[in-house]
Subunit: 396 residues, 2 copies
């Protein structure tokens, strides 16, 4: 790719920039990058892609999504705007719709969301189950995730989130046991990770510890929904168990953040959720930053609290609500996400890395934040190929 006005490779530090840059790609990987004038002659085929003077960064990494669902939760949104409190009970609405949907319907809806993500510059996405909540329906959702991976050029990380909520009418101890007993089947269906919604009114620290310990025995990586609704010590638990990430963290303490930093647990921030829930609780950012926690950003794409498929919007919002610098936010949306997924082949542009790029329709990366409400992805390169999928706009 030639004619990149500003290339932010995310190799060394946030804010590293190569001006007037080129990237050469071979076999889906980065074969060369540097100032355009230095491009070796053997990479002259790099002319085929012209960035038109845009800004290019590594493909965006979205490490926390619930992409497989049916139905919608409009009524919950309307209630929330009317000032009614949100207690998490809305998940069951989506569970009912998801159980009632066919596999093909679930896949079609997930593909539509995945295409929008690709159009918005995302090239890697973690996808959780969690709207099935029976062994059969959870495994169906894992199958949908696997089929999505085969259908779209997205890099997909598959997460079993049977422990999203105790489903209506179930005994909690029995349900926790069922989640644990489903782990081998989840592995067989392609799950790479286990996540638990460890929070007040959802799963306790002890229940979470039991599920994640079993997950580790089955070779699964672990991650947590942590400290979103209340401070429970979930961040400390994530550190104790060596989770790859702890996500949300609105109620994290400095001690929990310190434990995360020491254990190498990535903190995944989800600013759209805070906006959507209207809690305006943004204080976890300075706590995590000051503790030295590696941070990632994510859409939390889900039907209830964050129907969002735009990582550029998440970056914009993170800067505005947390006061993150543009450089730090872009690092979190690429390198941070890769760290949250323990991937070392994505999230930066360097020799041998996956040739995944987000080309941003801005003259300068700061405009990604300054141009409010505008999705700024001009093109997405995934595995060295330009994503040619449909744009999200419907026309007359």
């Amino acid at each position: 790719m030639r004619n990149i006005a500003r290339l932010l490779p995310m190799r060394t530090t946030p804010g590293e920039v190569i001006v007037d840059a080129a990237v050469a790609m071979r076999d889906g990987k980065v074969a060369w990058l540097g100032p355009d004038g230095d491009l070796p002659a053997k990479f002259s085929d790099s002319d085929e892609l012209d960035a038109n003077g845009a800004v290019a960064i590594p493909g965006l990494v979205d490490p926390h999504t619930h992409l497989v669902w049916a139905g919608n939760r409009r009524e919950e949104l309307v209630a929330r705007l009317a000032g009614e409190s949100y207690d998490g009970g809305g998940i069951q609405t989506t569970v009912d719709a998801t159980r009632a949907a066919t596999d093909d319907d679930l896949l079609e809806a997930a593909i539509d969301r995945g295409r929008r993500m690709l159009a918005n510059g995302t090239t890697t996405v973690e996808i959780k189950t969690g709207y099935g909540l029976t062994p059969k329906d959870e495994l169906r959702c894992l199958d949908v995730i696997a089929r999505l991976r085969d259908t779209l050029p997205l890099e997909v990380e598959s997460t079993y989130l049977g422990a999203h909520v105790v489903p209506a009418g179930r005994d909690r101890a029995e349900y926790v046991q069922e989640v644990i007993e489903t782990l081998p089947a989840a592995v067989a269906r392609g799950a790479q990770w286990v996540d638990v919604f460890c929070d007040e009114g959802v799963f306790t620290i002890d229940e979470t510890r039991a599920i994640l310990a079993a997950a580790s025995r089955h070779g699964l990586g672990t991650r947590l929904h942590a400290e979103e609704i209340a401070h429970t010590g979930a961040a400390d638990l994530a550190a104790e168990l060596g989770c790859a990430s702890a996500d949300h963290l609105e109620h994290v303490t400095p001690e929990g953040a310190k434990a995360m930093a020491e254990a190498g647990v990535v903190g995944v921030l989800l600013p759209t959720v805070t906006l959507s829930l209207r809690t305006f609780a943004f204080g976890q950012y300075p706590i995590l930053r000051d503790a030295g926690v590696t941070l990632a950003l994510s859409t939390d794409c889900n039907p209830g609290t964050s129907w969002c498929d735009s990582m550029p919007f998440v970056v914009q919002l993170a800067c505005l609500v947390y006061g993150m610098s543009v450089d730090d936010a872009l690092w979190a949306a690429t390198r941070g996400g890769a760290a949250a997924l323990r991937r070392d082949d994505i999230g930066k542009l360097d020799l041998g890395m996956r040739a995944d790029l987000a080309v941003l329709a801005v003259d300068h990366e700061a405009d990604l934040v300054a141009h409010l409400g505008t999705a700024s992805s001009a093109a997405t390169v995934v595995g060295g190929q330009v994503w040619e999928g449909p744009t999200r706009e419907r026309g007359l």
Copy 2:
């Protein structure tokens, strides 16, 4: 236009909906609207436009923009994200760049912004001067606004904002006098409105009163930047002088709101500015609502505090930060904007009104808010014609 799943005409009350609707247009005006099955045979040519099951509303009205500028204010944004305070001094940066730009450069940039607005469903836009701040440069900007009106199918309202800030190096009394003396020339260049930034550190109540009184003598409508930085009584002044609108209003008091309501002054809310300035001051909404003030929403499109050309994003943000209902926000973005501009031919769809429609790429208007960070305009109809301009995305 046929196949409108939900048509929100904004004729009677927020939330009025015609399901499975059609709109017939003749000579740029609405000739019929109602349930599709009732469409009279003589309007069978309405088939030419198919909304594809989308939601349609009146064309969005953006009653407060500073669309004519040169340069950018990236450094100010970066400083703000680093926690430095914003004092309004950044306007001079844009003044310097605007004075240095040619008329054609100013027009080209404004046209680009206007096209983005059209693509986002806006069909009427108020545009202020205010980055010239000499008689010559202010009148140049009025000329650019007039040329923009001739170039794009947008309905344009032209506002002289010589009193945006006291320019660097000028005596304030002399400058106020110069603004007043420039009024006849502004009228000759097409200005319909005068606006003053009446706030702490900008123009005082007395200065504002003098400018607006002179404006009224010259037949110009009046409007105010009011109560943004501090409470100054500008809302009461707007009521006293019968301004069409008072805009921003972060520091309005219940008494000021009551005066506005009684005088019929529309309150224009600019939520992107609050987000961009990171003040998180959203309390004016319930004060204005409870006082019965007619509300409008606007982008405040400007390079320093709200580079935004998307009224759908403003609607989304208004719901989330103020807790406005979707119905009320859409009303404010159409009927409210029309009221702020004292226009009775726009902002609603009814017989004889301008055939300006925003077709939204959603199944239900609530999704305009629920689908976070997504610009939801599918198509824009302006004066009965589909806007065929370029989309805002740059491709490879």
